[in-house]
Amino acid sequence: MPLSTQDKLEIIELAARYSMTIDQRMGEEWADCFAEDGLLISGNGNRVEGRAAFIEHMRKAKASGKQVRHWGCNHIVEGEGDTARLRMYLMAVDIGNGIAPYVMGDYDDTVVKVNGKWKFKVRRVNFSAGGI
């Protein structure tokens, strides 16, 4: 069954929650955006896998003191039934001192529906400019 408009909206909103929770350094809520066996492959090749690792990753990000905001745009959602592919753009902005974009990238994600809710199974980002 092709994805409904409702499914597509939920997936786009999942990406928004991902950005908001990462920016607020909310480890539990950020981990909630992923499936149990979720995997994040960062633009620098770093892999973060599984709930405990996500929470630890966020704890480290918080400890770094870096203040950032993630911007998403140009969502394309394709899929059927309980599996979807999400492609979108990312711009990460450092707001510690003024407003300075430091990364631009493209996401190419696998999203799955678990107990009626969409979650990232694999979130993969390629940096097209800048870096971390």
């Binding site: 408009t5 990406a15 929650r17 203040q67 905001r69 745009c73 707001i95 407003i99």
Partner: protein, 139 residues
């Protein structure tokens, strides 16, 4: 009743209309996206409440002579029946001369559905980077 996909689309489009109207200094059109008793709060202070004050807010912005463009992102919508909460980011650019990021902020809004149309009841914006445009600073 849970919000439908078309409720969510309508709310996202209301944000677009808000931004077009504020950026092109169309005061009446901007006031139309609020309920008659609608309020705009910035960093915990009431900047404009009720239609005449909302219209005046845009006239004031126009008098600064600045050209601004509002870029929204990351909408998260929750609610039911005729009430909703919208959280989102905004990045405003000053484009008076070149393209310069002015302010990065977050909204946490209350919306109501009046006669079948979504409107902002309370729009609350908090700065997280950069500076407020002049017309907001000077209040």
């Amino acid at each position: 009743m849970e919000l439908s996909a078309s409720d969510e689309f309508e709310i996202i489009e209301l944000v677009s209309r808000y931004n077009y109207a504020i950026d092109h200094r169309r005061a009446e059109e901007w006031a139309d996206v609020f309920s008659p008793d609608g309020e705009l709060w910035a960093d915990g202070k009431l900047r404009a409440g009720g239609r005449p004050a909302l219209v005046e807010h845009i006239h004031k912005a126009e008098r600064t002579g600045k050209k601004i463009r509002h870029w929204p992102c990351n909408p998260v919508i929750e609610g039911k029946d005729d009430q909703a909460r919208l959280r989102m980011y905004v990045l405003a650019y000053d484009i008076t001369d070149g393209i310069r990021p002015q302010i990065l902020a977050e909204y946490d809004d209350e919306l109501v559905k009046l006669d079948g149309h979504w409107k902002f009841k309370v729009r609350r914006v908090s700065a997280c980077g950069g500076d407020w445009p002049v017309h907001v600073q000077s209040k």
